[in-house]
């Protein structure tokens, strides 16, 4: 399933969705960037409450498929500008990381 289909099904708010046709092959949840760097893999969706610009650098370096910001956290404009530049899709939801993970699991993303 690609990011766009996935976001539509889960009714996520797209904050910038360039290249949103990237496949999602796994999920990682984390807010400490060094741990995400070490554990998340290419084409994973990353669920986080972090919103500052460096999440885009992490996603770009790891070639993550998208960033999902949970708990309705406000995403900085600098972050969105950078994400558009580097073509990293960012979505937002009011749900918690746990709720998001359960729904992704129900959709077959393990």
């Amino acid at each position: 399933m690609n990011c766009l289909e996935f976001a539509e099904k889960l009714q996520l708010t797209p904050l910038c969705e360039k290249e949103a046709n990237i496949e999602i092959e796994g999920v990682y949840i984390g807010d400490l960037l060094s741990i995400v760097m070490s554990k998340a893999k290419k084409n994973y969706a990353w669920i986080t409450i972090q919103t500052h610009i460096n999440i885009v650098a992490v996603a770009e370096l790891l070639e993550l498929s998208c960033i999902i910001v949970v708990e309705d956290m406000e995403v900085d404009n600098d972050t969105l500008d950078k994400a558009k530049e580097l073509k990293i899709p960012i979505f937002k939801t009011k749900e918690s990381a746990y709720q998001m993970a359960c729904r992704m699991s129900d959709m077959g993303i393990k």
């Binding site: 960037l33 500052h52 460096n54 650098a57 370096l61």
Partner: protein
């Protein structure tokens, strides 16, 4: 012949500039991709270069990030001026961090920087003093 330096990429890293943090690592990754380097090696180098770059941003007065390409290895070198690492053994321990609360709020300072660098490297050398730190990380191809 295998120790002949084929190419060096260098980037300036500014202290406390979180807006630009990761730029050097991103440029290194792009260059390695264009050289056709294996994706698993690129992933390791992306992690190592990012962690070293973030360390310069958080802990130093500024420095440089280099990526040296040899026939049989890639070497990431970070050079900074700054206070140095007071206790290298402690800094190598997972979870140990001297980062401030404001830096931690951004998701940095988990105490995983140097442990990650070590984990993904084949060889790690740290030279530190009260005037700065040089970290040399080797990954064999």
């Amino acid at each position: 012949m295998t120790d002949r330096l084929l190419k060096r990429y260098s980037y300036n890293v500014t202290a406390n500039d979180f807006m630009s943090a990761g730029k050097g690592s991103s440029a290194i990754k792009s260059n390695l991709k264009s050289l056709g380097i294996d994706s698993n090696i690129i992933r390791k180098i992306a992690i190592i270069s990012y962690e070293t770059e973030i360390n310069i941003v958080i802990h130093s007065f500024g420095g440089k990030l280099h990526c040296d390409i040899y026939e049989n290895k890639i070497v990431i070198i970070s050079e900074d001026t700054g206070p140095g690492i007071t206790d290298v053994d402690m800094a190598m321990k997972e979870g140990f961090s001297t980062a401030t609360d404001s830096v931690r709020e951004l998701g940095f300072g988990a105490g995983m920087g140097l442990p990650n660098i070590k984990k993904y490297s084949d060889q790690l050398e740290i030279n530190t003093s009260s005037t700065g730190t040089t970290i040399i990380v080797t990954i064999y191809l």
